[in-house]
Amino acid sequence: MKHVKIFLFVIFALSISAKSYGADIESRLKALEETIKQQAKTIEEQQRVIDELKKELNNLGQKEMVKADEKPVEIPKTQKISGLFGSSALTNPNISLVLNTFAYSSNLNQSELEIRNIPGYIKEGIEFRKGFNLESAELYLFAPVDPYFNLYATIPVSEEGAEIEEAYFVTTSLPAGFQIKGGKFKSGFGRINAQHPHYWDFVDIPLPYKAFLGSEGISEKGMQLTYLPKFPFYTLLGAEILQGENEILFGPDAKAGPHAYTVFAKASFDLTENSTILLGPSLMKGKTKTDSITEGYEFKGSSTLYGFEFTSKWKPSKKQSFTLQSEYLYRRQEGELEGVNKELPDPILKTLRRAQDGLYFQGIYQLGRWRIGARYEVLDLFKKDYVLDGEHISFGTKPWRASGIMDFKPSEFSQIRLQYNHDKSARNGKTNHELFLQLVFGIGAHSAHPF
């Protein structure tokens, strides 16, 4: 009986505990269910985040696949520039540096090159050294001054030091199509003169320019006025008043004060969508006092230089183009030639009249990053008067030169060029076979290309 009691008690106790246990299980299950639901939600949430991240990663991956080094990250619009001079970094002028360097080779020796002049034209010889030459590292600065002026400076630095090749302002707000340029600048005379040497299609300047204006052309202190009327076709009219110090045409101290004048006109037509011509006459006039004509003599008088330019460009696409370019120059000079040898008791004085001309003609074909070109230059073309005291002097055969180039531009900012010159400019003198390997590099601000 006692056993039965205990048994019943146990059963009772068990049943109670089971009841409470059952309730416990139920609530636990519910809790569990809740937890699972919550977890499912969390997982769903996480999956969504993962998906989003994946998408972002994909995008990033795609952007980084090709250019791991050029991460396109947005600069916050509100990024602040701090520092002692604050925003002045943003108002710095644009700066670029062009390195123009070449290796030179010739069949003549260095002393023959130094005295290799153009008889009847200039006494200056060839400046290039056999071997490596540093033409210049040209520093180029430009920026607007204010709403009324832009400012440009070209400072070629060579081993001899720095010079100011150009430093000028240009007006931007004159009405009626006028513009004034002032300071020191390359004259608008002709075509090649105003171009920077690293834009030339050949390493050296054409013979007529070398004979009449020197191997760097004419860059002078003065003022220029141009007028661009609203004609149906492009017509630019220009006039300059210059100090007149070009060593070949005028001489550094021909006259105190500005005495040289230039006028020029350029017209251009688009013949078709892909071909354009540009042509026009130029004239330059001034007083002259120079010792560049012949050794031991100084010339005093006046000079007039006439020019005519013609360019025709065909460019159907960026892949190919063909350019023909030619300029004719004619110079008249009248005055006196005086011996500078002071030991003579009475320096010889003779009258000199020169009327000489020259022409260059060149063609350049561009295919992709490659270009090939040829140039022919000649002096004494139609006129070869060198009249000393009324007597015509002959210096021998016509000076001429023929050149060929091939160049490659790895990018817009670099260029490798090979040039050969067959140079007969010393008339009856030896032929000069010249070879140039030129390298041009530009860094810094992107300057605009000329036409």
């Binding site: 080094d69 661009l228 688009d270």
Partner: protein, 297 residues
């Protein structure tokens, strides 16, 4: 007799005095086309770059300088796309109305948000545009902002026609909304392409496809044989949907890659007027998206 002469002189002078509408010079065809949508016949538009030219490599022809001389407004893409010729055209134009800082100097990129603006940069990376990817004309969002900018500039310079310009902008907006609905039905999401130049990034961003590699190793630098070999490997591995080129760049390279891998090549219009039937900006986007869509079927 005297009267006749005076009348003759007056009749000669009058046409030049008469108001002939604003003269607008646009550098690129799509800019000219967009301006035309807003101003219709109230402006006379001259476009400098022809559709078959690459806008990166144009030269400042004297005729462009003359057009700028006669212009009341010059509208350009900006983000340095025209840096090689536009500064010279503007300065040589001797025209004070279109100089920087004046109303007539209209930089379309002023209204958009550029992408891919590099933080560090040098030219060993190729001709990278420091201000960001300049080819935003493939982005409907950005182009609409430019259209808004044009309408407010034109209204400002020519207030007599302000309501006309605003009305046209509204028409443009409605058409764009409708087009956007059509465009969004084209399934381009998740598609992967190889492109010749970094030209379609804005479009990729807005329409959800990806450009996974470029034929140009660096912007503006043509590919070497080695780079093409690498691309062929990428194509075999990643199996992109197609190579995207334009009529002016990439055909030769894309064809040789197609021969080696069998990958599809899709020629996309890069500007208004490159092909017959692409007369305005809408048809350019229409055509580009349709070709991408068809190329996938």
């Amino acid at each position: 007799m005297k009267r006749i002469i005076i009348l003759l002189i007056i009749s000669l002078l009058v046409p030049s005095l008469a108001y002939a509408g604003l003269k607008v010079v646009a550098t690129l065809p799509w800019i000219g086309s967009l301006a035309k949508e807003i101003a219709k016949d109230r402006i006379e538009i001259t476009t400098l770059i022809k559709p078959n030219q690459d806008p990166h490599y144009a030269e400042p022809k004297p005729s462009m300088i003359l057009a700028a001389r006669k212009a009341d407004i010059i509208m350009f893409n900006g983000l340095d796309l025209e840096i090689g010729y536009l500064p010279r055209i503007i300065e040589s134009s001797n025209n004070p109305k279109i100089q920087p800082g004046q109303k007539g100097y209209f930089d379309c990129s002023k209204f958009i948000t550029p992408i891919e603006k590099p933080i560090t940069l040098d030219r060993s990376m190729g001709d990278v545009h420091p201000l960001g990817n300049p080819h935003y004309h493939f982005s409907p969002e950005n182009v609409f902002k430019v259209a808004e900018g044009m309408a407010s500039l034109l209204s400002d310079i020519d207030p007599d026609n302000a309501t006309f310009y605003q009305k046209n902008l509204q028409v443009f907006k409605e058409r764009l909304e409708e087009k956007k609905r059509q465009w969004s039905s084209l399934a381009l999401k998740g598609k992967r392409y190889i492109s010749y130049h970094k030209l379609f990034e804005y479009m990729a961003e807005e329409f959800g496809f990806q450009i996974i590699a470029y034929i140009e190793p660096k912007p503006g630098i043509p590919p070497s044989a080695g780079h093409i070999d690498k691309l062929v490997d990428i194509i075999k591995d990643k199996k992109p949907d197609a190579i995207l080129i334009t009529a002016v760049a990439g055909k030769k390279e894309a064809d040789s890659i197609r021969q080696r891998t069998g990958v599809r090549v899709i020629v996309l219009p890069h500007d208004v007027g490159v092909e017959k039937g692409i007369e305005d900006w809408f048809s350019m986007i229409d055509e580009a998206l349709t070709r991408l869509h068809k190329g996938n079927n």
